[in-house]
């Protein structure tokens, strides 16, 4: 189905990889650009999403209005924001950031609100009978109790943001080079070995970040006895 000249052998892919690691157009620089973008845009999305999530959990009015909006946003593929982002910000760094941000916020907000609402009433009742109330109750019981759910939400959010970021980069917006830009450039150059090598790098970085989230998640769950022994 795929003509053999369009499917390079692994050795060619490896060569394409090793000869394109360093340099200003190399994969190292591109990966760095992509990860910095991700960290910045996702960081802002986490802060904003968490605040929205708190508001959703605290108020049924916010839950019904903003919460519904968040669910609606989640059903919209984040790349669909790109045309609007380009109209608003031009094909700039801000447009990329905006798309990543808008991808991450609903996941974080919904996970925050859900994890707060799922805090066992038993814990809050126990704390109240010991004299905790108001902000003390929120800080000492609700916040620590919702950590496992919240962390799962972050794990989801990063994956959504990562996909949105690469999609935006492939459409060649943003100033600095990223892996998506590199992918697009090698496509124009019909450098098939390099295309596959870059895809491999994207997968490896994705796995690495996901492993980080999973390791922390397991630590949280093991400490609380929530980990079913395998």
């Amino acid at each position: 189905m795929i003509p053999s000249d369009k499917l390079p052998p692994p050795a060619d892919v490896w060569n394409a990889f090793t000869s394109n690691v360093t340099g200003p157009d190399g994969m190292l620089a591109a990966a760095r650009g992509t990860i910095i973008r991700l960290a910045f845009a996702l960081g802002v999305a986490v802060v904003v999403g968490t605040l929205i999530g708190f508001a959703m959990a605290a108020s049924i009015v916010v839950q019904r209005s903003i919460g519904t909006l968040m669910t609606a946003l989640q059903s919209l593929p984040s790349i669909a924001w790109l045309p609007l982002a380009i109209v608003w910000f031009g094909p700039t760094e801000r447009a990329v950031m905006f798309v990543v941000f808008i991808a991450g916020v609903p996941a974080v907000a919904i996970a925050t609100a859900t994890s707060i609402r799922q805090v066992q009433p038993l814990f809050t009742r126990a704390a109240r009978t010991m004299g905790a109330s108001g902000w003390t109750l929120q800080r000492t019981v609700v916040l620590p109790a919702c950590v496992p759910g919240y962390w799962s939400g972050l794990q989801q959010a990063w994956a959504v943001a990562w996909r949105a970021l690469l999609a935006a980069e492939i459409i060649r917006i943003g100033a600095a080079r990223g892996l998506g830009h590199l992918l697009e450039a090698s496509t124009s150059a019909e450098n098939i070995s390099l295309i596959i090598a870059i895809m491999g790098v994207i997968v490896v970085i994705g796995l690495a970040i996901d492993t980080f989230f999973s390791v922390v998640d397991r630590r949280i769950r093991r400490k609380r006895g929530l980990l079913v022994p395998a």
Binding site: L122, F123, R125, A126, A127, R128, T129, M130, G131, A132, S133, T136, T140, V141, P144, A145, V147, K223, R224, G225, L226
Partner: protein, 281 residues
């Protein structure tokens, strides 16, 4: 049964201690998810003296837990008054510690951390936290396990930790809602003995809800038997057997049988009222 023919344990105590807790004409109803109104308590009145150990016992669903939640201040009566030292109870407070059937330990804190949590709420200076927590853990024989997480403890040890945490609040009143209900018989007995010992030393007022008659007679100064829903006190048993008590105490066994008979009658009566034949219920 006429008053003078009543057995000794049904005769009211002449010298009662000053009233600590009291329910005056308390009624409480709930609306279920399907919209039906369930009357949990109707016109319940009883008093608990300072330092007294009272067990509430009754058919399942008779509103025992509701009474505890009212005393804890987690719920409010529809009618009547719930008083602590003569003042209405409006909200939960550390003067009334509540033990649940689930130990309700915080899984993100160690055993020591759970006890320290209660101490911090009391405003214990941070320099004293560690020593004071250890004191209470020693009291329930958990000190060697202080640095474990709650899930690493056995069921019985978790209940001891919950007791240590409750005691660390230095409550005037301890409320317990079938705290040992989910444990096996041996562990239950061990904890009952330990609880009796701790209570004898500290002398808190104790209201203990259980469906286990043996447990109630073993622990209590007074057992209050509640009717089927809507619950209200229908009988009181005063247990004067000196402590430390033994499970094989003859008088206690007699009281157990007596309560059992009275409770069975009540269950049959309630089943009859609901149009069920008791032998099928």
């Amino acid at each position: 049964m006429s008053e003078h023919a009543r057995p000794l344990w049904l005769v009211p105590d002449a010298e009662a201690s000053p009233t600590k807790l009291s329910c005056q004409g308390v009624s409480k109803a709930f609306t279920t998810g399907s919209g039906a109104v369930v009357e949990a308590l109707r016109d319940v009145s009883f008093e608990v003296g300072a330092g007294e150990f009272v067990c509430l016992i009754g058919p399942s669903g008779c509103g025992k837990s509701t009474i505890l939640n009212l005393l804890a201040g987690l719920e409010h009566p529809d009618a009547g008054e719930v008083l602590l030292d003569g003042r209405p109870i409006t909200e939960p407070g550390p003067d009334r510690a509540l033990l649940f059937q689930d130990p309700a330990l915080f899984p993100w804190l160690s055993v020591r951390g759970n006890v320290e949590y209660a101490l911090k709420l009391r405003g214990t200076p941070s320099a004293e936290l560690r020593d004071t927590a250890e004191h209470w853990l020693q009291r329930v024989h958990l000190f060697p396990f202080a640095d474990l997480q709650p899930h690493e403890l056995s069921g019985g040890m978790r209940h001891r930790a919950a007791l240590a945490r409750a005691l660390a609040c230095r409550p005037q009143v301890l409320l317990a809602d079938e705290p040992f209900g989910a444990l096996d018989a041996q562990m239950r007995e061990i904890l009952q003995v330990e609880l009796q010992q701790v209570w004898s030393e500290l002398g808190n007022t104790f209201v203990f809800v259980t469906h286990n008659i043996r447990e109630a007679t073993f622990l209590a100064d007074r057992v209050i038997l509640l009717s089927a829903r809507p619950g209200r006190p229908i009988e009181e048993y005063r247990i004067t057997t000196p402590r430390p008590r033994r499970f094989d105490d003859v008088l206690l066994r007699t009281v157990v049988l007596d309560i059992h008979e009275r409770l069975s009658k009540e269950v049959e009566r309630a089943a009859g009222e609901e149009g069920l034949r008791p032998d099928l219920a």
